[in-house]
Every structure is written in C-alpha cells, then in structure tokens.
C-alpha cells in the first residue's frame, strides 16, 4: 500500500475542506446546540452531501453508491471533523450501512441502502449496554426464541443518531455467554416496531445519540443479518472499520484545534510580546505538530489496509488499534494544551476551542480508549 493520496482523493479532500469552511464551520454546530434543534443536524445539508456523492462512497453502485473505499470516505470525514459537523456519517454510513453492505443480505440491502445513498434514510446501530464498556460481544439486549422468530428485551445506550433513525440494527444475544463472538445476532428493527422506545440523550460533546428501550419487540429469524447467532464477527469488523472513520474525524478536529491555537499564539500578547515567542510554548507546539503528523499516517494506513481485498483480519485489527490509541491520546493532548494556551478565555463557552476538547474526550471513550487498544494489541501479539 502507498501512503499518499491519489489525485482523485486529493480532489475529494479539497472539495470537502472547502465545503466545511463555507457551509459547516463550527458556528453551525454551536447554533444547532443553542437553538435546541430537535434533530441536531441538518437534513438539507445531509441531502447535499448525498448529492455530492459522499454518503454513497462505500456502497455498491447498484444501490446508488460509488463503490469506493475507506480511503475516500476518511478524506471526507476528516474535513467534516474540522467543523464537528453533526451529520450521521458514523451511524448511517459506517456502522449500520456498512453492516448491511458487508452482511451480503441482498434483500435487506435493497430495502435500505438506496435510501441511505440518496440521503433520505437514516440508520443506527444499537449494540452497547450500560455495562458493556468497550466489549462488542456484551450487549444488554437478550433475544428469546418465540415461534419462528425472537422477542427482544433490554436496553442499548448512546445509539448514535438513534432519535432520527428510520431503522435500528439491534445486536442481541441469542445464545452463548456474554463476551463470546458466537451467539450474537443482528436484527433490523424499523423505528415503528411495537415495544421500541427511543429517547434522545444529551452528550457532553453534542453528538446526537439516543437511549433505546426494547420491551418484547418481535423480530423474525430472517431479519438477522449474517444469520441467527452469526453476527459477532461481522459486528466486530464493522466497528473496527467505523473506528477508522472516527479516527479520521478526530484527525480533522485535532488539526483544526491546533490551527486555532497557533493563530492564538501568533496574535495574543502577554508581557509585551506575542505568546508564540515563548520557547516553552514553542516546544510544546512542536510536540503537538509531531503527534498530528503521526496521526495522519496511522489513519491513512488503516483506511488503506481496510480497503485491501482479503486483508488479514488480525493485521487490520492492529492497524485500527494503533490508529485509535494514537488519535485518542493526540486529540486529548492537543485540545488540553490548546485550552491551556488560550488561558481563561479557553474555559469560556464563548470560545470555540472547548467544543474540540469535549469532542476529543467523547471520541476517546468511543470504540475503546488507548488503554483498551493497547490491551488488544498485546492480545493480538500473543502476550
């Protein structure tokens, strides 16, 4: 694999960065928050992104997609991360959409993906419970056999964009023990299913999420993507791929936060000189720059590794863990330092830098923090 953008990817990147600068600066996210917008994102903008072809990037052409890969998608998401754009890429494209696409379930794909690619349909993935922590194989939803189908009961937390989703994919234990890959099933549940209750949650970083309660929701065995009991590996692989997308978003955010800070260092005066002349701050800024340069490499490598046909799952998992661990610590470090260098004003809600610090933490604690991924790396290495 070559760690360099192709000309096409360069073009997508430029378009996306310009789009974010003009249409989705951080001020938009602030306005959505301050106005208490019920959706928490813009359906018009989402539609526009679909028209630009971004939403359909990783989907098959037959469903209206572009049949491209994470290499292209991450470039778009990185740009959106600069503006903390709240549109539902993670939930609809990277989680639920990719699950459908990779399940090979043609009927389900045909039912949902054209709407996704067109920007009309929102999907969400409900897989974690309040005690799951970062383990994808410990959902809080249990499926009990009933006739030729199942009854789902339990709760899923922080279901990204769950409050606006047209359908949820619910991960439920159909057999086996918590923590095991086998015995997990992934059911597609339309939003109007009887027994389904969805309540919007309020997160510190403003990312849209919902609490999902399932009270005896009836599903059929045919609704199980990858078959009954067979959803575990697909779920884990999909989360790994979504993690690469999240890392790209983090990469965009850390660059934006760093640029805001550099700008501040060059203009803010203290003790009769701009603070950018202080060597202690310069050296810290140089360290942040290095962390970003490494972040660019690990995100690019992970995306390319995921796109390679027949990639070794262990090697892909290693790439994902390196990217997530590095980006988690870098984004947190950069935004912590940013607020410190901004000083008191950095602590006020009035300044934008705090938004990035909040998102950095939220992203860190999604799909496993650095410690989790180090443990996973060690386990993959057999030690």
């Amino acid at each position: 694999m070559e760690l360099i953008l192709t000309e096409d990817q360069e073009l997508i990147a430029k378009t996306a960065v310009d789009f974010v600068g003009e249409r989705s600066p951080i001020a938009r996210m602030r306005a959505l928050r301050d106005d208490g917008d019920p959706a928490g994102f813009s359906r018009e903008l989402w539609k526009e992104m679909a028209d630009l072809g971004w939403v359909g990037i990783p989907f098959a052409e037959v469903h209206g997609g572009a049949d491209l890969g994470l290499a292209e998608l991450t470039v778009v998401i990185e740009a959106l991360g600069r503006g903390l754009a709240p549109e539902p890429f993670l939930s609809t494209v990277l989680l639920a959409g990719q699950l459908l696409q990779r399940s090979g379930d043609d009927a389900a794909c045909a039912r949902w993906l054209p709407g996704v690619c067109a920007g009309d349909t929102i999907l969400a993935l409900a897989y974690q419970g309040v005690t799951s922590r970062y383990d994808a194989f410990s959902p809080s939803v249990v499926a009990t056999a009933s006739g030729d189908g199942f009854r789902l009961a339990g709760q899923a937390i922080q279901v990204l964009d769950g409050h606006v989703a047209d359908a949820l994919i619910v991960s439920a234990r159909t057999s086996g023990e918590q923590g095991e890959a086998s015995g997990l099933s992934l059911f597609v549940v339309p939003k109007d299913a009887s027994g389904l209750e969805i309540v919007r949650q309020s997160r510190v970083d403003g990312r849209n999420a919902a609490l999902v309660q399932l009270d005896d929701v009836a599903v059929s065995a045919a609704d199980a993507l990858a078959g009954v009991d067979g959803g575990g590996p697909l779920l884990q692989q999909t989360i790994d791929r979504a993690t690469i997308g999240l890392c790209a978003e983090m990469l965009g955010g850390m660059q934006q936060a760093f640029e805001l800070t550099l700008e501040h260092m060059k203009t803010r005066e203290q003790f009769d000189t701009v603070i950018g002349t202080f060597q202690a701050l310069k050296h810290r800024a140089a360290d942040l720059f290095i962390e970003i340069e490494l972040a660019k490499s690990v995100v690019m490598a992970a995306a390319r590794a995921a796109d390679e046909a027949g990639a070794d799952p262990g090697e892909l998992a290693r790439h994902v863990s390196v990217a997530k661990a590095h980006c988690s610590e870098a984004y947190v470090h950069i935004t912590n330092e940013a607020v410190q260098m901004f000083g008191g004003v950095g602590m006020t809600d009035e300044y934008d830098i705090g938004f990035y610090m909040k998102r950095a933490r939220a992203a860190e604690l999604t799909f496993g923090d650095a410690a989790f991924h180090r443990d996973r790396w060690a386990a993959l290495g057999g030690y």
């Binding site: 005066e269 203290q270 009769d272 202690a280 004003v345 006020t348 939220a362 410690a371």
Partner: protein, 396 residues
C-alpha cells in the same frame, strides 16, 4: 490546668451553648456556606443567629485584633477553636474573600481609618467582597492591566472591565487594581483601590463556562466615581499590595485540591470494570497501576504541604512553596478527573438528562471545570517562571 486547657474548656462550653443545635453535625447540617453581605438571605433563622453570636464573640475572624471586631486570639488559641469546632461539627459562621483576602491585606497595608471602616463590617458579615484583578486580554500578564482611574482631585473616575470576578453578582464591594499612571512602567502605575459595587456605572454579567454556569463574572465600570480615601497603601504602589495578596490566593487554591477523603478510585473502578470482584486485584492491570500512581503522588504532595506547614510553625521563612503547591495540586486534580473519566468510560459522556447517573454527570462537569485549575490563580507557566527565576536563579 494550663491557660490553653482553660481556653479549650471555655470555648467548648461557649460553642455548645451558642451554636444552634440544628446546625451541628457533619458539614453543618447540610448548610450551604454563609457568605454574608447586603444581598444575603439566610437559609434559616439559626444560620443568622449563629453568625450574629459568633461575630459578637469575634469568632468569625478569630485572630484579628479585638478593636476591629476580631477575636484577638493567639495562633495556638485559634487552632484550638478550630479543633473544637471540628469535634462538635460546628459549621463556620462566615466564609468569603473579606475574611481570607481583603481583611488580611487591610491589616497589613490599610490605614487606621480604613481598618476601622471596613474590618468590623467584614467580621459581622455585613459586606461581601469580590476581587477585581484580571482583565480581558491581560491573562497571565496581570501587570498589563488597562482599567483606567483618572485623577480628579479627591477622587478618580474609573473606566474599564474586570473578568473572572468570582461572585461579583453577589458582592457589595470590590478590591481592584486600576491604572493611575499610564505613563509609568507597567507595574509602577497601578493602584489598589476599593470600590462600592452600588456606585452608579458598575454592572455585572455572569460568564458561562465550558462546564456550564459558574460563579465567574465580567464586571464593567463606566465613569465610576471612587474616592481616593479608598486607596490602599499608596497611589501607584498597588503592585506591592497585589503581590502580597496573590501569594495568599495561590496557597488557597492549592489547598482546595489537596486531598480530602472521597470515595476511592478503586471502588469506583470496581463499579465499572466487568469482572471486578469485591476485594481482589482490579481486572485491568494498567488502570490499577494508574490509580496507584495517582494516589502515591497525591500522598507525596500532601506530605510536602505538611512539611511546609511544619516549617512555617517552626518559624522558617517560606520559599517557593505556594508556586509548587499551585502547580502540583492543580495537576493532581486534573489527573484525578481524567482517571474518573477513564474509569466511567462511555458513561462519562453525559451532559444532562436520561441515561446517566447524577454522579456520572458530575464527573463530566468536574473534569471540564478542572481544566481551568492550571489557568486560574496564576497559570502553571507563570508559576514555573517564578520558580526558575526566584528559586533557581536562572537568568531572564
């Protein structure tokens, strides 16, 4: 029986007799602190009575001289008073920046008239004070302040804005640094001035933080008249007064992060880590070591605070302690907040509402608030500059 033993017995008896029973017990029966001031509304009659009686006795400011309403106690006596109050669970009758900041400053730098005018009102909780140091755009460079006080003979006309004035919206008077000589070198044209917040032209707006609402305010001064009789020490010599006060504030901030017995981090981790048992090793070896590392450094910090106090008791001059305490105390608190986030994992991401426990929501906000610790009260960078210059003697 020694004098101190007699004092102890007497004090205990007085406290038992005078502190209303409803206020006794841990934390003063859940009483929110008594800040006093013109706008203050006691939570209940007992709180008002306790303030009145304690003030009458001089116990709101135990070591201040009796002629300004203080208790006139020696340090040894004041220590006994504090011990007895703790033992009986008696809440402090009064708290606030009057007692801890402007009061001691007036005792050191105030004129006799100024002491007589202001200290008794502080002792009785009649006047609440706030601090006006920082300004928008000044930040760590305190001496770069711009708020202008124009000389008009017996008074000044003050124009400008102060930020980070804690509780300015509740305070009656402000002690502020103003620029009285714009031509002098930065630190030489500054005056320490007291201003009544009810003077026409003073207005206050609260500051919203990333962690939510806060006690901080912006305080605006538009053509505010302030009498020269309210200058502390000397005109243009406010920097001397301010420095004395700042050292004091730094120690206070550090103390706040010192330790205290909260629910242990390990217990919290047990609540969140799958597979954790009630008393075995935590299942996450890395997190276990992080917790131990934090606790051990916190103990080293606590011992260093103690060593400094013991040295002060023995009459040794303080060195750079306040800067060390500020740096380490605040960074430890930030580490603690980060550990709590890592322990709670995704449940640490709540802002409000459904799906998060109250304690989890508090964890999130406390973490955000803690990021300000290394900025307020003199940034960590400024403290490191101070240590490098004053203690290590490194050249500019």
């Amino acid at each position: 029986m020694s004098d101190l033993q007699a004092f102890q017995a007497e004090t205990r008896a007085w406290l038992k007799e005078n502190c209303p029973a409803s206020l006794l017990g841990a934390g003063g029966g859940g009483l929110v602190g008594t800040w006093g001031g013109r706008k203050w509304q006691p939570e209940n009659e007992d709180q008002r009575v306790w303030l009145e009686r304690a003030a009458e006795k001089g116990f709101t400011a135990p070591t201040w001289p009796t002629d300004v309403g203080g208790g006139g106690l020696s340090k040894a006596e004041a220590k006994i008073l504090a011990q007895e109050m703790r033992a009986l669970g008696v809440p402090p009758p009064l708290i606030g920046f009057g007692l801890t900041m402007i009061g001691p400053t007036l005792l050191q730098y105030g004129s006799e008239e100024q002491k007589q005018e202001h200290l008794p009102k502080i002792v009785r909780g009649e006047i609440r004070w706030c601090q006006g140091y920082s300004e928008p755009g000044a930040g760590s460079d305190l001496a770069g302040l711009q708020m202008r006080a124009e000389d008009k003979g017996d008074h000044y006309i003050v124009n400008g804005t102060k930020v980070w004035t804690s509780y300015a919206d509740e305070a009656d008077w402000i002690f502020a640094l103003v620029r009285t000589d714009p031509k002098a070198k930065k630190q030489e044209g500054i005056t320490f001035l007291l201003i009544d917040m009810e003077t026409p032209g003073v207005s206050v707006s609260p500051i919203l933080l990333i962690s939510g609402s806060s006690p901080f305010c912006e305080t605006h001064f538009q053509d505010v008249k302030a009498l020269k009789s309210n200058v502390i020490f000397k005109e243009h010599a406010g920097w001397t007064v301010a420095k004395a006060l700042l050292g004091h504030e730094r120690s206070m901030v550090a103390e706040a992060f010192g330790g205290g017995s909260r629910r242990s981090l390990a217990d919290r981790a047990r609540a969140y880590l799958p597979g954790a048992t009630a008393d075995g090793p935590l299942p996450d070896g890395g997190l276990r070591r992080d917790i131990a590392s934090f606790e051990m450094e916190a103990r080293a910090f606590g011992l260093t605070m103690q060593r400094s106090r013991d040295a002060a008791k023995a009459g040794q001059q303080p060195g750079a302690e306040s800067s060390i305490f500020k740096i380490v105390g605040t960074e430890l608190n930030q580490r603690r907040q980060e550990l709590l986030l890592h322990i709670a994992g995704p449940q640490a991401l709540g802002w409000e509402g459904e799906g998060f426990a109250d304690g989890e929501l508090a964890t999130t906000r406390d973490w955000l608030r803690s990021r300000g610790n290394t900025i307020e009260g003199g940034t960590s960078e400024v403290q490191r500059n101070i240590i490098a210059k004053r203690v290590l003697g490194l050249p500019d």
